[in-house]
C-alpha cells in the first residue's frame, strides 16, 4: 500500500519508534510527529528511578540522538496539541489554529495520571508522568521534606517510595488493596514486595484509603480511612492512568478505555494506534488488552507503523507476550505474560527468602506467565516458551 504521507500524534516512545520503523521499512514520504510536550522525545522509566534519585541528568533521558533524527528526516511539531480529528474528511486540527489533511495517521497519545479530586492545585502534591513532574518531585525531595507520603503502591508509587528511601527520606506508602502491586502480582507475591519495602524502612500501610489531603495552600497532612493522620510536606499520588482520547470524541473512531483497534492495530482505514492509548484483541491470550508497558509501546509502535503500509490481506495480528520490568532498591522485578490471582504458581529457581527467584504461572494446563525477582535472563527465556505456547508441565520441566 502506498501512502503519500504519515502523521503521528504523540511524539514520545510509541510515536518515535513508529517513525523510526517506518524509515526502516523504507517509507520515504513525509513523516510528521505532533506532540504537546515541549521536549524532544525522552524516556519515562528513569523518571521514577535514576533521574528522580538525582543520579542522571536530562541528557541521559533522550530517546534518540539529534544526528539520528536528521538522518530520518522527521518533521516535529512539538508544543503542539491535536485537538480534533474527523475520519470522514481526514482532517486533523491543532491547537495553534492549523489543520492538516492526513493520509496515514498513527495515534500514540499515551496516558496521563489520575489525580485525587481537590488536590490538583495544592502545593506539595504531585503526580508523575512527565519530565516536568519528575523535576518538580526531585526539587521537593532535594528540599529535605520531613516525610514523603506516596499514595498508591502500584509500580510507579513503589518505585518513588524506593527512590525516596534510598535518598534517606522518611516515607509512608499507602495502598488501599491488601498488598502493594497486588492488582498485578496477586496477594502472595505482593506480600513479598511488601516485605522488601518494610525491610528498607518504608512505613507501609495497606488496606487503607486516603480520606483527605489537608493543608491551606500547601499540603500539611494526609488523613487515612482508618482514622490515622500523617504529617507530610510532600505527597506523590500514583493511582493509575487514563488514556488520552478526549480529543478524539466525535472523530468517528471507537473509544472505550482507549482507542479500540482490530487485532492488527487498525482503528479505521488508514488509522492505527499504539502504546498506552491503544486497546486491541490479543489473540494469543483471547483477551482485549490495553498495555501500559515500555516494551509494548516500542513493539506496537513498530507494528502499527507497518500496518499503515500494508493492505488488509497482508496485515498480521499483533500478538505479543506483554513484558515489563520495575526496579526497586536493588531488586529487578520482571513479569512476562498475563497472570491472574487464581492461577497455579510454582517457584522454579532460587527462593523467595533470597529475594531471587523465578515463579511460573499456569492456567488450565497452559503456561501463561513468569515473574522474576533479579532473574532477568530467566524471565526472557521463559517468555519465549510462553510465545511457543508450551504447556505448564513442559515449562516446569524445562531446563533454563
Amino acid at each position: 500500500m502506498t501512502r503519500s504521507s504519515i502523521t503521528i500524534v504523540g511524539a514520545s516512545l510509541a510515536g518515535l519508534r513508529a517513525a523510526e520503523s517506518l524509515r526502516r521499512q523504507e517509507f520515504d514520504g513525509p513523516i510528521t510527529l505532533i506532540g504537546d510536550e515541549p521536549h524532544a522525545p525522552y524516556d519515562r522509566p528513569p523518571l521514577s528511578k535514576q533521574f528522580l534519585a538525582g543520579d542522571w541528568d536530562e541528557e541521559k533521558l533522550a530517546l534518540t540522538k539529534p544526528e539520528k533524527l536528521a538522518d530520518h528526516d522527521l518533521t516535529f511539531r512539538l508544543g503542539t496539541r491535536a485537538t480534533a480529528f474527523d475520519l470522514a474528511t481526514r482532517r486533523l486540527s491543532l491547537d495553534d489554529g492549523d489543520s492538516l489533511e492526513v493520509d496515514g495517521l498513527l495515534i500514540a497519545t499515551g496516558a496521563r495520571c489520575r489525580t485525587l479530586p481537590g488536590t490538583e492545585d495544592m502545593e506539595g502534591v504531585f503526580v508523575l508522568r512527565g519530565l516536568d513532574d519528575s523535576l518538580a518531585i526531585r526539587a521537593a525531595l532535594d528540599a529535605g521534606p520531613s516525610r514523603v507520603v506516596v499514595v498508591g503502591a502500584g509500580f510507579i508509587g513503589a518505585e518513588v517510595a524506593a527512590t525516596a528511601r534510598e535518598r534517606g527520606l522518611d516515607v509512608t506508602l499507602v495502598e488501599a488493596l491488601p498488598q502493594p502491586l497486588g492488582r498485578v502480582l496477586g496477594d502472595e507475591m505482593g506480600a513479598v514486595c511488601a516485605d522488601v519495602h518494610r525491610e528498607h524502612g518504608v512505613d507501609l500501610r495497606v488496606g487503607v484509603g486516603v480520606d483527605a489531603i489537608e493543608g491551606d495552600d500547601r499540603v500539611e497532612r494526609v488523613r487515612l480511612s482508618d482514622g490515622s493522620v500523617i504529617d507530610a510536606d510532600a505527597v506523590v499520588v500514583g493511582i493509575g492512568v487514563i488514556p488520552n482520547t478526549e480529543w478524539l470524541e466525535g472523530s468517528g473512531l471507537e473509544i472505550d478505555n482507549g482507542i479500540v483497534c482490530d487485532a492488527t492495530c487498525l482503528a479505521a482505514p488508514g488509522v492505527t494506534a499504539a502504546g498506552d492509548v491503544a486497546r486491541w484483541p490479543n489473540h494469543r491470550f483471547d483477551e482485549f488488552m490495553r498495555v501500559e508497558h515500555w516494551d509494548n509501546a516500542v513493539e506496537q509502535g513498530g507494528h502499527a507503523a507497518k500496518r499503515l503500509l500494508q493492505s488488509d490481506d497482508e496485515a498480521e495480528p499483533f500478538m505479543p507476550v506483554p513484558w515489563f520490568w520495575s526496579d526497586q532498591y536493588d531488586r529487578k522485578i520482571q513479569l512476562a505474560g498475563r497472570i491472574r490471582p487464581d492461577d497455579d504458581m510454582q517457584i522454579v529457581t532460587g527462593s523467595v527468602e533470597e529475594r531471587r527467584f523465578a515463579a511460573l504461572y499456569g492456567r488450565a494446563g497452559k503456561f501463561v506467565g513468569v515473574l522474576g525477582f533479579n532473574r532477568p535472563r530467566h524471565v526472557m527465556q521463559y517468555k519465549t516458551l510462553i510465545q511457543q505456547g508450551v504447556s505448564y508441565d513442559e515449562a516446569l520441566a524445562a531446563e533454563i
Partner: protein
C-alpha cells in the same frame, strides 16, 4: 560498525540476544557477552532493532 554496550546500564535481560543471537549472548553467569563486536553491514538492521528494543538504552553503534 562497532557495537558498544554500557555494562553499567545493561541488566542482562537478553532482549538483544533474542533479536540477534549471533551478536549477543547472556550466559549462565548472567552476564552479557558481545559475540561479534564488529559485525558486517548486513547486520545493521538487526542491530538497530536491538538498540531500540533495549529497555536500558545500553547499546550504541559506533560507526
Amino acid at each position: 560498525m562497532k557495537i558498544v554496550v554500557d555494562f553499567d546500564l545493561c541488566e542482562s535481560n537478553a532482549i538483544c540476544m533474542q533479536i540477534a543471537p549471533d551478536l549477543f549472548e547472556v550466559r549462565d553467569d548472567d552476564f552479557l557477552y558481545v559475540l561479534n563486536e564488529e559485525p558486517g553491514e548486513d547486520r545493521r538492521e538487526a542491530l538497530e532493532e536491538c538498540v531500540q528494543r533495549c529497555p536500558k538504552q545500553a547499546i550504541t553503534i559506533a560507526e
